[in-house]
Amino acid sequence: MTDLVIAFTLNGRLREVRTPAHRTLLDVLRDDLGVLEVKEGCGEGVCGTCTVLLDGEPVSSCLVLAPRAAGRRITTVRGLGDGDALHPLQEAFVAHGAAQCGFCIPGMILTACAFLEEHPAPSRDEIRQAIAGNLCRCTGYTKIIDAIASVAGRKTRG
């Protein structure tokens, strides 16, 4: 199998990788580019820990074959902030103590971020539904929802 050369924008920077087509975007990000904030959980698109934004929309990077990332804009949780300044959602997660083990948090924040772009002033129930595809095994979700609700209605970047 010949390798493909795939170029995409990762957090605003153009990256190029050489990979066979059967690997996933998750494999490429973690194993080739050392992007370790993208976590591997179930590997079946169910748990949400490997969430990245693909042209602004949350996707499971474990279910995106590497060639499908060509020419796209990929955002990880590191791409949300602005240099040293955290994104307001990241600040809110810190302020509310919304992380315990933290494994689900990058995906959770990216999902919440895309959701708030589309629904700037959601109800608590809408927030619960929005993160239904991101599983957290520690927190019971209350503080995560508190954190997202605290940002809802405020202007967000990213």
């Binding site: 059967h22 690997r23 279910l63 995106v64 060639p67 595809g133």
Partner: protein
Amino acid sequence: MPAVPFEYHAPATLEEAIALLREHGDEAKPLAGGQSLVPLLTLRLARPAVLVDLNHLEELRAVRREGDALWIGALVRHRALERGEGALRACPLLQDAAALIGNVRVRALGTIGGSLAHADPAAELPAVVQALDGTVALRGPQGERHVPAGDFFVGALTTALGPAEVIVGVRLPVLGPGVGYAVEEFSRRAGDFAVVAAIAVVELRSPGEIARARVALAGVGSTPRRLPGVEAALAGQRPDAETLRRAAGGAAGEVDPDGDAHASASYRRHLARVLTARALERAAAMAGRRKTA
């Protein structure tokens, strides 16, 4: 686990895609959104030698109104159906059904053509196309053919797609004034496939008379099932709660589901009746409201 390595092609035209599928026969798989196929690859339940990526075929992305029908290209994503923008507004049942599919990430990439081709017996969109008597358009080496939903779904994960044929789109009727619709679904957890889902479409002749009712169920057999007995019991009847519930009572007797790890056969029959009743009641109420719309 990584997928078994395969040869990857990203054809720029449909003709090229069909030629590749024809050349490689059973060794080849077409790729659309990948939300069912990629897990099958990484679990190594599917080991195609060749993958034909359809995502560059712009012609499969079209959505357009064609008189009383709505054409939806095979590559239209679930999120687009869920948002229901533009011409998709003509068939708003799609919006409610698509919102129940998987999670938001599945919906961002998954496509209507992929869902129909995969033909999971519990999936929402096959049941929608079945409920609306939609037509699936297929293109292959022999040209294009249009298959009614009732003939398209052959068995669990099995369709009328022939060798080297791909779905190019689906044609659904526009839901005009006087037509109400509803999706009712029961699943164990948010994002799971439905144990049973019911889709009802009720068309009123007048505020006091049902012209036609259509019901399709997912999760009660190897393919999405219509309920001809329930439908016949409602034609020409009053759309009141009592009539709808009585007709829905026939749903359990019209299906013959298997039990599995998710639900027993008798529980699925129970759900068939309860969800049919709920869907019919909501659809009839909406049909009344949409009369003057």
